[in-house]
Symmetry: C2
Subunit: 102 residues, 2 copies
């Protein structure tokens, strides 16, 4: 089973789209990181300053290790000034399904 | 942009794993449905009778159409007796990221 995370990021008023672009760049950076199966950037205009991120990792350790990856750290730094809050809504054991490599 | 759904299904006490298997079978049935990009079955033992499902569809219409698919309907019927509640937590515009075909 994989490790799933569902989180919500609050952006500075009006900066959601700019922040989303940084997160999508992070998703590209993660393309080469095979321990990351899914990194999905979601929005809903009912909450115009929020971004939700769905992640699936090989395991929790792989996710923690990614936070020390230089490219990921640089992007986090780049986005920091646009972020007013981060909330981890759920963590999961991902049993499987369509769209997962296993 | 794709259409994302994040929902929670409450199972009859002790029936979570049996219901999860039915949902994983539904995920297999969706393999042939290209409008469905992701159908992911998640659990968390802190809520032993809950299942969370993460879905990504081409658009909302494609998701609605899937509910009239015979194989999907049969599985829903099969799981019905094991379900005590279904809650749609979020719907999203999925901007993109790793693990999505677009």
């Amino acid at each position: 089973m994989s490790f799933g995370i569902f989180g919500k990021i609050s952006a500075v008023e009006g900066k959601r789209d700019q922040l989303s672009e940084i997160l999508l760049t992070a998703a590209k950076a993660l393309q080469s990181m095979k321990e990351c199966e899914i990194y999905m950037v979601n929005i809903n205009d009912e909450e115009p300053n929020s971004i939700w991120v769905t992640e699936v990792w090989k395991d929790e350790e792989a996710h923690k290790a990614s936070l020390s990856n230089e490219e990921v750290r640089n992007l986090i730094m780049k986005g920091r000034s646009l972020i007013t809050g981060m909330e981890r809504l759920n963590t999961f054991e991902v049993l499987g399904g369509k769209g997962l490599t296993k």
